[in-house]
Amino acid sequence: MSSLVPLMPLLVVGIGGFILMLVDAFSDEKAELATLSSTILFAAAAISGVLAASKTGIAAPPPGVAPFLATSAMAQFMNATICTGAGMSALLAGGYLREHALERGEFYVLLVLSAFGAMVLSASTDLLSLFIGLETMSLGVYCMVAFRRSSPRAAEGGMKYFLLGSFAAAIFLFGAALLYGATGHTDFDGIGKAIAEGTSSARFVLLGMVLVLIGLAFKVSAVPFHMWTPDAYEGAVTPATTFMSVVVKAAAFAVLIRMLIACFGGEALSNLVTGWPAIISALAAATMVIGNLAAATQANVKRMLAYSSIAHAGYIMVGLATLASQDPEVRATAVSAVMFYLAAYTVSNVLTFGSLIALGTYAKEAVSYEDLAGAGRRHPLIALPFVIGVLSLMGFPPTAGFLGKWYVFSAALAADDSLLWLVILGVLSSVIGAYYYLRVVVYLFMKAPEPGAPIAVPLRSGYVVLALVLSGYFVLKMGITPAHYIDIALAAATKLG
C-alpha cells in the first residue's frame, strides 16, 4: 500500500512556500508572513516528528518517488530537525527584519523554499535528487545572504558564498558523473552494489568519491573548504546566518551519512587507511583544531559563531568517521549520535543567535564583544538564554550540547581504538572552545561598556521571545531527559533507506 502520508512534510513545506508567495503578492502590507511561514514549518516538523516516532512503521511512498527520496524514520527525524531550525529562523526574522526596516515578503518565501530544498537534499537516495535538493537549498540561501541590498558587506558575503558554492557544486557534479560512468547507476544502492560486485572501474570510483566528498565538504564548511563561511555568516542578516548554520549543515550531514553507508559502505572503500575514513578523519581533525583556534581570535561575535559552527562540523565528522565500522550495531549507534548532535546543535545555535538578535536594535546591532559589555547586568532576562546557548555550544552539562558531544565521542570510542586520537583531539579542542564561549559570559556580566560607547538596547518582539523560549526549552529538555530523543534516533538509525 503506498500513500502520500510519508511525503506530507515535504508537501506541506512545498505547497506552503507557494501559498506564501501568493499571500505576499496579493495581500496588504500588514500580512504576518513570519507567523504564516513559521506555522507551515512547525506543522511540517510536527508531522515528521510523529512519523519518526511512530511504532507502526511508515507507509511506502508512491512508486515514482521511492527511488529518489527516502521516507524512512531517519529521513523524518532529519525533516523534523530541519523544519524546527527553519521555523525558528523564520520567527527570528519576524522580529529582526521589522526592527531593521528590512521587512520584505520574499525573505520568508526564500526561507521556506530553501527549507524544502534542504529536506529533499537530506532525504535523497539518488545523485540526481541530491543535486536538485542541494541547488534548491543553495540558490535560496545565496539570495538570503545578499538580502540587505543596501549593504556592501551583504553583497560581498553573498558573492563569495555564491562563487565558492557553485564551484563546489561543479566539483560535486563531476564526481557524480564519474560515479555514474563507473557503475552505470545514479542511485546510492545501485552504486553501492556495483562497487561491491567489482564490476566498476576502481579508479573512476575513487576519483568520483573524492570529488563528491569535496563538494559536500564545502557545504558543511569543513576545513580547508571553509573560506567562505565567516564572510557569508558575517555579511548576512542574522536570521539568514541562523538558517545557514543549522539547516544547511543538518541537511548536508544527513545525506553524507546515507551516502557513506549506502554508496561507499563496502569493505574496500571504508577501509580505515585507504578509504574514505582516512579522508573524513583528516578533515575532522583539521576542522576541529583550526575552527576552534580561529574562533578564539575573533573580535566579532558573529564571526566567532561562524568559526564555532566550523568547529562543530568537525565534531560531527568524528561521528561520520565512526561509520567506517562494518558492524551494523556500531553504525546505528554512530548514526543516532550524529542525528542527536544535529538536533541539539540546531536548538543551541538558534538560542545563541536569537539572543544576539534580541540584544540589538535599529542601527545598534550587537556584533562585537564590546557591544555585549555589561548587557547581562542591565538585561538579565535576555542574557540568560545567551548564557544557556553558549554553554550548550561549549558542551556544558546539563545541556543538549553536552550530551551531543558525549554520544558522538563515546560512539567513536566504542567502535575502534584507531579513532582514539580523534576523540582526544576533539576533547582538547573543545577546551579551546570553552575560552571563547566563556568570553561571551564574561563580557555580558563582568565588563562595563567603554565610556561613550553605544549601549545595546534590547529588541522588543514577541517573535524573538517565542523563538528563544522554544529553543531554550528544547536545549534543556534534550539535555536533562534525552532518553526519548535518543531512542527515536536509535530506532531511526537502523532504517536509513
Partner: protein, 102 residues
C-alpha cells in the same frame, strides 16, 4: 580514427580543468562565472558520453538536462548578486571584495 569513450573523457577533463583553473586564477567575477559554466558543461559532456557507451538506461542524458536547467537558474541568481555588488562598489573584481575581514 575511431572516436572512443577515452577521447570524450579526455576532452571533458580538459574543459573541466580549464574551467577550474580559470575560476581560481581570474579575478573578474564575470569570468569566474563563465569558468563555472565551462565546468558544468564538461560535466554534461561526461554524462552524455558515458551514457552513449552504456545505453541500458538514459540516466546520463536525464542528468545532463537537469544540469542545464539548474545552471540557468544559478546564472540568474549569480548575475543578480554580482549586479547588487557592482551597484554598491562600482567594480566586479573579487579582489575588491575585501570589507569582510578579521
Amino acid at each position: 580514427m575511431q572516436i572512443e569513450l577515452g577521447h570524450f573523457l579526455a576532452l571533458s577533463a580538459t574543459i573541466f580543468g580549464i574551467g577550474a583553473i580559470g575560476f581560481l586564477v581570474r579575478r573578474n567575477v564575470l569570468v569566474q562565472l563563465m569558468s563555472i559554466e565551462l565546468m558544468l558543461n564538461s560535466v554534461n559532456l561526461t554524462f552524455v558520453a558515458f551514457n552513449r557507451y552504456a545505453p541500458q538506461n538514459h540516466l546520463g542524458q536525464l542528468f545532463a538536462f537537469f544540469v542545464i536547467a539548474v545552471a540557468a537558474a544559478e546564472a540568474a541568481v549569480g548575475l543578480a548578486i554580482v549586479l547588487s555588488f557592482f551597484r554598491l562598489r562600482k567594480t566586479v573584481h573579487s579582489d575588491r571584495a575585501d570589507t569582510l575581514k578579521n
